[in-house]
Symmetry: C2
DNA sequence: TTTAATTACGACTGTTTTAGTCGCAATTAG
DNA sequence: CTAATTGCGACTAAAACAGTCGTAATTAAA
């Protein structure tokens, strides 16, 4: 769903590592587990998912491994999340039964939550993995609601990089 | 942690309902369960949390109930989430053991994830519950990474309300 | 041709989180 | 006194998450 869980974490770890390699140089799961301590099988499956979606390329057999294919500055965090955990849904009242919400017909917050979900997705879509891994993530457009109006002219100091 | 779970949902349902009442008019849990089908005990606890944090006021005894105290246009979604589910953390590698991550010393993505977490929090902090419940949520500042550069001059059409 | 290293993949298990329930106490209007 | 309501801790059930196991397929190299 929404959280940055282990799968996404392992994906980011692997992607950042692969990005630092020479073009053509392969990365094995063994290498990742040795360097970062992530569990072999779990990491393996994540890389397989990324490979299936064309973000990385896999080479089988001895001396095999994975290789980054795309430019991470042109891949959004949303895409990576979708590859490893499926469509991002911030709440489960958003899809029908089973597993969804049976209060829908009378619920007074479905549409706000739906809208919020869309905004979160937009946020993730606007976030390039390359920039994220470099520590360059743009802040939000708006300032905290508690401060609105109170410190209007000082707002630009807060909405920056921090 | 991060997701809009049932607790947050019940909080929003209750808040939206209370907001529509006359000043001084109370709302009972029974009323909420009847109208929206949410479970009594769970909803009850959520309202108690909101009451403990001063967002609503409770009146005990027969003819008791809850009453909205603050102006929802000045309360952020982050505050509500914190009231009912605690501090927002997008990943659990962010706090130490136990429950945290033991790969920290060798992890290459702790700082990006920490930064991302901060940005998400800023997003929720900048989002007023009142506006959310009205369906007015500002979109993100940036456009999807897939489109960057390609449709530069048409970007403003996409970053708007949709 | 055998062996070792590696990816590929489904099934399974244990743990944690989430969701909801139960029971009973405290408060207050009538 | 009684009924309606909030207050609160303990408990149970279900779902999600994290990780493991077993086994096959592929390929380089001895």
């Amino acid at each position: 769903m929404n959280k940055i869980n282990r799968k996404v974490e392992y994906a980011l770890i692997g992607l950042k590592h692969m990005r630092s390699k020479q073009p053509g140089e392969l990365t094995t799961i063994k290498e990742l587990t040795a360097l970062y301590g992530c569990p072999f099988e779990a990491t393996s499956k994540v890389m397989q998912m990324l490979a299936g979606r064309g973000l990385v390329r896999s080479e089988q057999g001895a001396h095999g491994g994975y290789q980054l294919v795309k430019d991470l500055s042109r891949v959004s965090l949303y895409e990576v999340m979708e590859m490893v955990i499926g469509p991002v849904e911030i709440a489960k009242c958003l899809h029908g039964e089973p597993g969804g919400c049976d209060l829908r017909q009378s619920c007074n917050v479905v549409s706000p939550i739906t809208l919020l979900n869309r905004r979160i997705i937009e946020f993730y879509r606007g976030l390039a993995v390359g920039e994220l891994l470099d520590g360059r993530v743009a802040g939000p457009r708006s300032q905290p609601v508690e401060l609105r109006g109170l410190v209007a002219e000082a707002g630009h100091q807060l909405s920056g990089v921090e």
